[in-house]
Each structure stands twice: as structure tokens, then as C-alpha cells.
Amino acid sequence: MSDTAIRGIGRRDFLKTAAVGAAAAAAIPTVAAAQQPKRGGVLKHMGLEPPSFDIHATVSYQTQLISSFVHRTLFKFVNGPKYGPSDFTPVPDLALKAEVSKDGRTYTITLRQGVRWENKPPVNGRELVAADVKYSLERAVKKSGYASLLGQVEGVETPDKYTVRVRLADAFAPFLHNLAEAWNGILPREVEDKLGDFKAAESLIGCGPFTLERYEPGVKAVFARNPDYFQKGLPYLDKVEWLFVKDRSTQLSLFRAGQVDIPFYDARIPRSDVGSFKKSNPTYPVAYWDWLAVRSLAMRTDKPPFNDVRVRRALSLAIDRKKWVKEYLEGQGFEDHGPVPAPMREWKLPTKDLGEGARWLEYNPALAKKLLAEAGFPNGFKAKCTHWPGYGPEYVEELELLTFYLKQIGVELQIVNEEYGNYIRGSFLGKYDETTWGPSSIFTEVDGYLYNFLKTGQPNNRSHVSDTKLDVMLDAQRRYIAKSSRKKVIDDIQRHEADQMYYVYTPYPKNLASWTPWVKNYQPKNSFDRGAQLEVVWIEK
């Protein structure tokens, strides 16, 4: 990869990326010196049965996970134990490099040559070319619920067989990064022509490390090594069995018994089971890893009482975040208090740098009560809080803890459990009466946590934030391709949010992951690109 990989505003940043990418490519033989990769073996992985196999028809991560075994993206994030679970440095995948114009509106992407689709109808091993990329990008823009994460795509051109040019209406900093998301997998048009869409399992035909060997509804999907994969020598595994067992206790039991190698789609095990795993399976590795689903209490800031900033600050002051992490999360969590998740270290602003806003993040129930009294609620008030209990018992516990803290300053949260459909089309999109609590969706690009939640009129702006100053900053950070300039704006956004407390963020746990000891070179990863994660894994029994 040449150091002219990218020209224009973001040059220096992408240079770093490119360097890491080169290191990653070189890393495979280096690792081999320490630990010889072994070819062969079947990895049994707890998975999830997707509602559909069309990555554009649904925003479901289950679909992205299963699609990533077969479909590749233009760029991918670094993988393997050398990189952290939240290291989202993009490296070349189907593309070799990308250049961005000075105004940040035109991306010229050069494709890898000689990549072939699977050797089966209707593609029959045809070469993957620029027209495939154009087709897939245009389909994503037209159909995907995530389309807004690509900015405003004006047009996609294919000057030659291996070059794709994308024109944006406006500069959009997260563009290249989001191309590496699994929902941006490149799809072959012939499949849609033949089957009508990509919903059925038979449509899972790609060019990735694995091919779909068998799909048994309700049981499992079996992936086999793609012999024609363009990354020579990869993957090491012969097969991956992606199992659809749904009951959590059963999943963990099968893992304890060694019947599966990875106990969850992201290798997670419950916090409360660390001790029992040490007892029943002392040889299993256990690792803590960061997670990106921030939790927040969203409020109707467009009407009383939550339109009063004193009330919102009071709610934040009532929460003893330190104790929450130390006692309830047993030290394994983040006292998180802002929109940017703590594991995104390059963007996260530490509390001490939050300026004025930092005051409202301390634990000070006396001040909270004083603020409430000033706002006209000396005796507190009651508020309904909608919630979907299906996120899991641990989330319910967190909400109960929040309820407890708010009760101490006289604010009584009345939990209203919602059925999933009502929640996701209601509260999740800001349609509720008073407050709602829950985790955010997971994004790998910081913009996902900012624009969606804080920009006026966005569907995910659950707190109904409408703040002109914030809107200007939110638009600006999207336009700055240079990371340093962008970071300054994002810092200011975090300061402003801490002071205004449009969302009251609550602490959240680190994840625990475990896998069977014979699974080598495995690293839990905060992305849904399972294919890229597992192609470097091998089994050594």
C-alpha cells in the first residue's frame, strides 16, 4: 500500500490507517512464529437465527452477523488478539485504497483485482468488479435502514472495471469507516435477478472466507472454507457451525460441557457466572472486554418537567455512579456519563475536561433536592418510564438501581414494561410520554452516538433535543474530514451535553467473554463482521 493511498484533507489520518493495515497484513506470518496456525477443524459457535438474510431489508444485527461469513465489504476493521475489541481501524478488504477529494465530497475507491464470486450458479466464479460495488451501494442507499450512515450519496460511477467513484452531496467524515460495516457487504446482482431478493438462505452467495454449506431452520447454519477466497491461506478453519440454540442457560451449559466453543454470538458470558466457570471449567480463558451500548434515561425535554435543565441535572446528581460501578458492577464497568461510549478512547472526553458540566456528574443528592425545589418540585414528582424487559435480566437490574437512586430525591420512576414491538416503534423512536430507559444501538463510528441522539428531528433523538448550538456542532463534525478538527467539535458537543443533561447516562458493565481453550487467536470484537473475526482463528486440540 503506498503512502499516497489517500489524498486530501484526511491524508495524515489515513496514512496511519494504511500503516496499521500493512502491519496487519504482515502480522499473519509474525504470529505464526509464536504460535503456528493450524488448518482444519470445526468451530461450534453459538449464533443467532436471522429474521432474513437480506442485509438491506432489516437493521437486525443477526442478519449482519450471518451475512459476514459470506459477503465481504470494501474495507474491514482490524481483527485478531493484537487489536482491542473496540479497535475499528479500517484496513483494505475488497478495496485496496480510497482517495477523497479536497472538498470531501468525492471518494475514488480502487478495487482489488482477481476477486471471484463463489463457483456456483448464478455467479459461477465470475470476477467481482466495480459494477457489483455500484449495484450494492445503490441498493443500500435505497433500501437499508442504515442508509443515513453513508451521508447523502448523490451518485456512484464506475470509470473502469476496478474503480468506483462515489459523489456525496456534502462532506461526510464517517463515510469510509461505515463502508466497513457488515451491512455494506457487496452483493452479486444475479442473485436478486434470479431469486427476487436476498431474503432466503439460498441467496447467501458471496466471495468471503466461508460459503454457506447448509442451513437448517431452527437448528444451525454450517459454513465451509471458501477454497477460492482471495486472502490466500485463510481461513484456517474447515467449518463453522453457527448454532441457533435460544435459551441462555442451555447455551452456557453446552459451553461448560464443551459441546460448543463460543458461548454466545459475541462470546459473552454473564458477569455473575465468572465464579462458577472458574470452578467448572478452570482451563477456559476469561477476558473482560469493552462494550459500546451506552445506557441512558431519555426524557421528554420538550415539555415539563424535563424541559427545565435543573430537573435534568438533579436526576444526574442523584446517581452514585462510583458506587454503582464499584459495588453493583464489581469494578468491571464504566461510570459512563456522556453520549460517547468510554471504550472509544480516541473520542471520549474525560470527566475532568468536561468543564462546567462535570459538576452535574458528581453524586450530590442534597444539591439535587435543592435544584428540584428551585424548579418547583420540593417534594419530587412521579414519572412513567417505559422499558423493554427483553434486553435481559441484567438491564432490568440496572433500571431498578436507577429507580432506587431517583427515589432518594423524591423522583418516583414508574416502570412501564413494553412489548418489543411497542417499544421499538415507540419509545425507541421517541414516542413515549415522560421518560424511557434502555441501551443505545451499537455503532462503531462515533457519529452514530451523536447525530442520531442529539440532532433536532432525528428519529432516534429520544429526548426530543432541539438545540440550535448543538445542531451546528453536530453538522460540523460530520463535515470535518481531518480527525483533529473533528475531535475539537466532538469535545465541545460532549461538554455541552454534560451541562445540558439532555440524556441522563447511567453506568454500564464491561463484558466478559470466554471460549474453549483449544480455540486460538480469538479476540472478542465489537463489530458484527464475524467472518473477518473468525478467518484468523484456528483450533488446536
Binding site: 431452520p217 451449559s253 460448543v260
Partner: protein, 316 residues
């Protein structure tokens, strides 16, 4: 006899119509528009009109119903909104799993309930009777999801052993290996139902034992085993079998939980998935299919009961 069977069959017609109306009503009972909901909920594509047309929601209600029934009669149960797979195909693949689980559960219930129930009846109000009934009701009192979870979790924790789950083998592939997957869930489901059957067996036996012909047999000096087996049990069996036949809905319902815990790809886990994804055509199809199954098993039980017991025919 044929007239009786025909009469029963005729009674099925209105039931069928009502069942289809119920099932049809499910999707329309939802407040708001299903299509809007699906679009918002799962960002299901972006084309509302396409989805609406696919569900046939753009036409008058009566027409929708008639079209749906017409398709049903042609064997088309509709197809999943998510995967495009015909519901009939999935039901056909999953139905044997639920049936195997149900039959095995019934077998286990009977194996436990019949002998214990008979003994309890023979020794009414003795310590043995109390123990047997306490056991029966005790078994009824444990939530079966809890029993099942303990069976799965404890051996894995203490012995690093778990039942064969997650690698489902169909009956046709490997009959023994396949049955092995059903044993534990069938026990969990069967134990609960054993309590019901045990109590009924005991009750029926008590009643039959008091009948004149049994007393006569006893008086004639026939051995007690002969009396119990040949005379009493056979007569008590008819109502017992009827009741078990009528329990079909219970087994399908119970298998929702068991299939979930034991990772069995049956109708129960299928419908649970469909409900959580609001895959209406599938919810409709499974509900309809299960109802048909129940109607059919009731019909069979009724008719065979009529064949066994002439009084039923006359009474009707």
C-alpha cells in the same frame, strides 16, 4: 356408525369456519397498521405499498378473507415476510418434531401414571395412596421450565456434561440418536402431565371398581390381578384415552417451552420466533395448522370412542 361419523364431521365445518375467522382476526386485531409497524420496527425494507400488497391489506376485508381461504384450500398457507419461505414448508419440517415430543411425553406420562394411579385406587386412603397423589400433585406444582433448566444446567456444572442439544438430527437420519434428544424434554413435559393422568386414572378406577360387574368378578373368585387388568382397567381406559386425545393442545403449548430450552426445531419454537418477529403470515399459518391438528385428533377420538361404546352413538 358411518352416520355417526358423518354427523361428527358435519359439526366440524362450523368449527373450521370459526377457527379460520379467529386466525384471520389475529392480524387485524392489532391496533394500528401492521405494515407501518413492521416498517418502523425492523426497518423492513422501505416499500410500504409492496408489503401491503403482499399481505393483501389494500383490499376490502371480506375479499381479503375469501382470497386467503381460497389460497388455503389450494394448500397455500402463506409465506414468511422475512425469509420468503412458504410457511407450509417450515411447518412440514417442524411438525414431526413436535409430534415426536408429544407422543414420547404421553408415553412417559402413561408409564408413570397408569400403574401408580391403579395402585392408588386399589389402596384408597392409605399411606401409599397419599404418597402417590402427593407425588402426582408435587410434579404438577413445579414449573416445567424450571425442571428442564435444572436438568440442563446442573450436570454441565458438576460433570461437564450436557444433553445432546444444538445439533439436531432428524428421526429419518438416525432414529436412535434422534430419539435421544427427545428423552429429557419428554420427561419434563410428561411428568407434569402424569400428574393429571394419574389423578384421572385413580378416579376412573375407583368408579369402575365399584361397578357391579367388577364386584361380581371378584365374588367369582377371580384373582385380583385378572380383575384389575381385564375388567376394571379396560373400562377405565376409554375415558382416559379420550382425555389424552383431548390434551393435544396442551402438548403443543408445553412444547413451546421445552423446544426453547432443549433447542428442538419444532412448531413451538417456530411460533415463538414468529410471534417475536411479528411474522403474521407465519403466526396465522401455525395457529391454523395446530387448530386443524386438534380438530382432527378430537374427531378421531370421538369417532373411535363412538365405535367402542355404542351408547355414545345413540345418545348423540
Amino acid at each position: 356408525m358411518i352416520r355417526y361419523a358423518l354427523k361428527r364431521l358435519l359439526l366440524v365445518v362450523p368449527t373450521l369456519v370459526l377457527v379460520s375467522l379467529f386466525v384471520f382476526g389475529i392480524i387485524r386485531a392489532i391496533p394500528g397498521d401492521v405494515v407501518d409497524m413492521m416498517l418502523e420496527q425492523f426497518q423492513y425494507g422501505k416499500d410500504a405499498a409492496e408489503l401491503r400488497a403482499k399481505l393483501g391489506l389494500d383490499r376490502p376485508l371480506l375479499e381479503q378473507y375469501l382470497v386467503w381461504v381460497k389460497r388455503l384450500l389450494a394448500g397455500d398457507l402463506g409465506q414468511s415476510l422475512w425469509t420468503n419461505r412458504p410457511a407450509a414448508q417450515d411447518i412440514a419440517a417442524r411438525f414431526p418434531v413436535t409430534v415426536t415430543l408429544s407422543l414420547l411425553s404421553i408415553l412417559i406420562s402413561l408409564l408413570v401414571a397408569l400403574p401408580v394411579g391403579i395402585l392408588a385406587a386399589l389402596r384408597q386412603d392409605t399411606a401409599g395412596d397419599y404418597t402417590a397423589r402427593s407425588f402426582a400433585i408435587g410434579a404438577l406444582s413445579i414449573p416445567n421450565f424450571w425442571l428442564a433448566t435444572l436438568i440442563v444446567v446442573l450436570p454441565s456444572f458438576y460433570f461437564n456434561w450436557a444433553p445432546p442439544i444444538g445439533n439436531f438430527v432428524a428421526l429419518g437420519q438416525d432414529p436412535l440418536g434422534s430419539l435421544a434428544q427427545f428423552v429429557l424434554p419428554a420427561i419434563c413435559l410428561g411428568i407434569t402431565q402424569a400428574g393429571v393422568i394419574l389423578r384421572m386414572t385413580r378416579g376412573m378406577m375407583l368408579e369402575v371398581l365399584r361397578q357391579d360387574y367388577v364386584r361380581t368378578a371378584w365374588a367369582k373368585g377371580l384373582g385380583s390381578r385378572v380383575v384389575v387388568l381385564r375388567h376394571a382397567l379396560r373400562n377405565a381406559m376409554i375415558p382416559i384415552v379420550t382425555v389424552i386425545g383431548g390434551q393435544m393442545p396442551f402438548y403443543v403449548g408445553g412444547s413451546i417451552v421445552m423446544e426453547h430450552i432443549f433447542g428442538l426445531p419444532g412448531l413451538g419454537s417456530f411460533v415463538l420466533e414468529a410471534i417475536s418477529r411479528r411474522d403474521y403470515p407465519v403466526i396465522q399459518a401455525v395457529n391454523l395448522f395446530v387448530a386443524l391438528l386438534v380438530i382432527l385428533s378430537n374427531l378421531l377420538v370421538d369417532v373411535s370412542y363412538g365405535a367402542l361404546d355404542p351408547r355414545v352413538r345413540q345418545h348423540e
